[in-house]
């Protein structure tokens, strides 16, 4: 033993243990996100049971989905005010999602295992995903059309499915009109207002012009009225059907089909059906719009916002980063001053991102944006156009933040190119510029790509500076749409990282939103892991290649 201790082997093992712990932490974390994120879409079984706390008059019927279980000590539960028998040491409790927030006012609850009856899984329990108030759990009784029963019993479910499809089609139509057509009309009405104001500011208002504005406005308003009428008809149509269900406490509740997004009977689904449901749910999440203060529905605007912001950032950061790197490596006079500059630039990569956010807000948004507004958008003042956080400033701030990454990577790539290649080109009479652009830079493109991908990965995961310069909880419009000029750089955007922060920590229904946040986190992690792995692969591949060429 003593000898073993003296040999130093225990220390080696302890060091090895540190690696093992780190690795298990990394993979455990990824696993946790994977399981919780992907688990979100699986149609879990719904159980039914009765629950009787000691001292309660009558047992309560509980219908719900098991979220998680945990084991606590009896003492902890007793001090929390639950009546646990004195001799019981351990208590298992379950967090159950019961839905029906509007009916009972309580959609999640903890239940002690000991007070629960046996769990049953009745096949006809239905889950309704609603547009408001979260999920609804109950047993369907009858289907109504204008308050007249049209289906009960066995024919209910197929008939309901059919009518739900109709109501969803109507809803899609409504959405299309509201988002597309009405949004477009509003946009053009605003245009007219701005044109009018601009003419006023320039003093070029003439009676003809004014009449023209009035005409344009009247046309648009007429257009709006037509749309509105169509909408109202659609809304009336959609309100035709409703479904009556019995909830856990025996109450009968009527739910309008227009409020239902989708319905399923998880206890009655086969495995392939569940898989099919899973896949459609997953796509619904990625391509859907958020509802209920972001706690339900999809995250499409957040994904879209993240991607557009990162793209705009790439367009800014690539040329500047590459040019700066080429300057530092190829043109600048190497010396103490350049060394200092290089270290400073590299070190900016380690400066807290929030500092860039502060700079972006102060300099870009308030200073530059304010100037732009005064010069180009005086008609919109005092409402700021560029003088407020928005897509462009977010991208520009992140471009500044990721510049060092691109510079470092490109410089590394340039340095790796064997001097023989460079000298060969020069010896053949090429100018320095020609050598650079026709020989060196093409060879270094993969390094630039690596830098760009790393920059994108960093930008996609960055949240702190974005909170200051352009990301919001809920953006009413996407930054790219069908209205001229199609790309709206001044608009505020949604972002996946901020979505996680906002929904996880600022939302009124934290428990209901938790799974959605895990799913969002999963998408973000997948995106970033894939980007990083690509960058690492390219880098390794390049190293091998040049090592071979250099030899």
């Amino acid at each position: 033993m003593k000898e073993w201790w003296k040999s130093g082997a225990p220390w080696i093992w302890l060091n090895g243990g540190a690696v093992t712990i780190s690795m298990i932490m990394v993979f455990g974390l990824l696993l946790l996100i994977l399981v919780r994120g992907f688990g979100n879409f699986w149609p879990h079984g719904i159980f039914e049971t009765t629950y009787m706390e000691p001292g309660a008059d009558a047992p309560v019927r509980v219908i719900g989905e098991l979220r998680r279980s945990e084991t606590l000590t009896g003492e902890a539960m007793r001090s929390a005010g639950v009546d646990i028998p004195e001799d019981q040491v351990l208590v298992e409790r379950h967090l159950v999602k019961m839905g029906n927030r509007d009916v009972t006012g309580r959609d999640f609850g903890y239940f002690i295992d000991d007070f629960m009856d046996e769990w049953r899984y009745p096949e006809d329990i239905t889950v309704l995903e609603r547009r408001e108030w979260g999920d609804f759990l109950g047993t369907p009784l009858r289907l109504l059309e204008n308050d007249v029963t049209v289906a009960v019993g066995d024919s209910l479910w197929p008939e309901f499915q059919q009518r739900l499809e109709r109501s969803n089609d109507l809803f899609d139509e409504i959405r299309r009109i509201e988002r597309g057509a009405i949004g477009n009309v509003n946009f053009r009405i605003e245009r007219v207002r701005l044109d009018e104001r601009r003419a006023e500011l320039r003093g070029t208002t003439t009676p003809e012009l004014e009449a023209q504005f009035a005409q344009r406005r009247a046309d648009l308003e007429a257009e709006y009225r037509v749309l509105e009428e169509r909408l109202n008809r659609l809304y009336d149509d959609a309100a035709r059907d409703s479904l009556v269900l019995r909830v856990a406490d025996g109450q009968e509740v009527t739910v309008r089909l227009a409020d239902i997004v989708k319905a399923w009977q998880p206890n009655n689904m086969s495995i392939p059906a569940k898989v099919g449901f899973y896949v459609s749910d997953f796509f619904g999440f990625i391509f859907g719009y958020p509802r209920e203060a972001n706690t339900e529905g999809g995250i499409f605007p957040a994904i879209f916002g993240t991607v557009v912001m990162v793209l705009v950032m790439s367009i800014i950061v690539t040329p500047f980063g590459v040019l700066a790197a080429i300057y530092l490596r190829e043109y600048a006079k190497q010396g103490a001053l350049l060394k200092t500059i290089r270290i400073s630039v590299y070190n900016l990569a380690g400066v807290p991102s929030i500092v860039f956010g502060v700079f972006g807000l102060g300099f870009f948004v308030y200073f530059v944006g304010g100037q732009i507004d005064q010069a180009f958008y005086p008609e919109a003042l005092p409402a700021p156009t560029f003088g407020t956080p928005g897509l462009f400033w977010a991208s520009l701030t992140l471009a500044l933040l990721t510049l060092p990454v691109v510079i470092v990577s490109t410089e590394e790539g340039l340095a790796r190119i064997p001097s023989t290649i460079r000298e060969g080109s020069l010896a053949l009479g090429a100018t320095k510029g020609e050598t650079l652009w026709k020989v060196v830079v093409p060879l270094a493109t993969p390094a630039m790509m690596t830098g760009l991908i790393l920059a994108i990965a960093r930008a996609a995961g960055e949240v702190a500076p974005l909170m200051l310069v352009g990301v919001v909880k809920l953006a009413p419009t996407l930054p790219i749409d069908g209205n001229f000029p199609f790309i709206h750089l001044e608009r505020k955007i949604m972002h996946m990282g901020f979505h996680i922060y906002d929904v996880g920590f600022q939302s009124p229904h934290a428990e209901a939103a938790e799974q959605l946040v895990y799913a969002t986190a999963l998408i973000l992690v997948l995106l970033i892991v894939v980007l990083n792995l690509t960058a690492i692969t390219i880098r390794n591949h390049l190293r091998e290649k040049y090592r071979a060429e250099g030899d």
């Binding site: 130093g8 712990i21 990394v26 974390l29 040019l323 510029g433 996880g504 992690v525």
Partner: protein
Amino acid sequence: MSATTREEPLSSGSLLPAADDRRKLRKKRAFRDAFSRYGVGSSGIGVIIALALIFVYLFYETFPLLKPVSVELETEFSVPGDADRAPTLHLTLDRYEEIGARFSESGVITFFEAGTGALRSRLQIPVPEGERITTFGSGESRRSLFVYGFSDGSVLPLKVDYTQSFIDGVRQIEPKLSFPLGEEPTVLGDGAIEIYSALAIVEGRGGYVVAGGTEDGDLVMALFSTRTNLMTGAVQKQREDFSLPSIGRPVRQVLVNESLRNLFVVDDRGRLFNFDIVDRNNPTLIEEVDLVGTDARVTAAEFLVGSRSLIVGGSDGSVRQWFLVRNEETGKSHMTFVRGFQNHAGAVTTIEPEYLRKGFMTGDDQGNVGLHYATSNVTLKMQPVAESPIVRIAMGPNNGRALVKSEDLGAMQVLAIDNPHPQTSISALWGKVWYEGRAEPQFIWQSSSADDAFEAKFSIVPLSIGTLKAALFAMLLAMPLAIMGAIYTAYFMAPAIRKVVKPSIELMEALPTVILGFLAGIWLAPYVENNLPILVTGVILFPLLILVAAFAWSRLPQAIRSWVPSGWEAALLVPVVIGTGWLVVTSSPWIEIWFFDGSMRQWFTDVGIPYDQRNALIVGMAMGFAVIPTIFSIAEDAVFNVPRHLTNGSLALGATPWQTVTGVVLLTASPGIFSAIMIGFGRAVGETMIVLMASGNSPVVNFNLFEGMRTLAANIAVELPETAVGSTHFRVLFLSALVLLMFTFVLNTAAEIVRQRLRKRYASL
């Protein structure tokens, strides 16, 4: 001519383009070359300048905090419309600092252009027939509330309002008088008092209070309350009169605070009588305090905005701040001397508080004017403006202008003041400050509140302590794991696993911190709270069981051990670590039952350890996780690049592998490891999202493991979107961003220099 002919035969036989074309081509190439040179050069320099701009801009935004205060004489004119030459009782400025008003003893209020002295209008207050004004009192400047006392013993409270209208887009302001408590003069108490020596009026919660005192020391007070009936909407006016015990000395000043809890009386010796008037029918004298010492008298006393602090000026030129401090034991509040300001050369004659900040101006009998700020305990300016004693000063609501009236016959001076950020002296930012109503000087960050008269508390200390605390706990977890892991990975690990391990840990670095923060706040924090014993058992069991497993492995027969080549220890430990983890988690409730009476959380409360669910420990764990890859990656490089001949030499001389590590590898690589720690620390200091989501964000000043904190970075993220651009708060947040920038920049530069030295040394070895 000759050139072309000579070349002609050459070109006919060659494939080269014609000389002209060649010259053109050469020109084009030279141009392109130059274009590339200057194009790349200018954009490269442009990028560097853009990055340097970050420093410049942050400095530029924080610089105004340091700008010295300026007080300059803007203009001087003879007192406008002063036909009666009556002495000045009071001066005010309107909210645009354009219209001044002079209240004179004849009952005339003269309004004039503050910039030029041109007369605007004169209003006469209704003085009762055959009587004259004997006393005058004013409320807080922002309420613009005044009270006149007449020689028949009646008093008249009134208000000066300014109505604003736009005629052709030009702002027109007209002053007008209003009488909140009735247009008729009224008598306080039973009417026994004829001449008041001091009057006070205050608008507080529950109504108006008018109080007065006499040369004999008698005191009266009346409360005018209005109650709106919720059902009928009718306004019910109520009036109650109260009498207070006589102080037996001539009353020089009466002051009532806005909360209507205390009434202060100052007598001719400079003693303050503090009456508790919460129970209005039974006012009690709490204490008598000597405000300026026995050799001097009180010559001026005024509340700061919010009426919590009393500024006292003495005949000896002293300027002191007093406020009520609650004695924790007795529960009573006592008037306490808090701080003094720079002394005036002569007796202080007048004190004028600012409208919305805790600053004030003072004037003395030598003609000097002083500008002070209470919270930061500074005298910003002290300068002579007149030859004769200052009578009154009026400060504009925006602190941009002041009117000064001295005894010097008809002259009035207008001062232009530039004093945007008096709150931020070095001592106010970094030292303990005794804030209004607090029991003692403290470090507090509390930047805003709904209350107008709020005293902003800008102490950077809680935020700096919070930042260090978070970073420290993160390093506590990350340092051992990352450095030990780096040593093992670089020196012992088999290359096959190293190829997997290194990128995996580096991948961690790319994980968005918002996800780590989310998991820490939503999953880890409640989990740890419910399973507190895992903290103790984890720290003990992980190393212990790894050692036990290692020992057991060394006792296995050689035949089995040789299956696994050296360098695979980490892989062998995977089941051990997972098993230990499982043991730690499942044993948690049992340990609570055996050692902590069933609930460790409850035990914490019983023992008196404060516990927040989101605390420094959770932040430390999450942020530790975030900095492990940073430290690991750099430290691993440093260890891996130790020249092989050094270690081989050591091994050849008979040292064990571990002796080689401690004696050779660590010694050589220590600068690299040190720089890894510095860079990791820099990252932990600036991390925002994890702290924002997992720390609770309360700016406390302690290093308690189980309490939260607020860091500089998180504070910026929370508060910057909501501050007014250009305000002191805005600039202090920029200052904290600058502090973060400088700190991490210096840290990273130092680390980088260390690494470059190391690289050179490796190359030379």
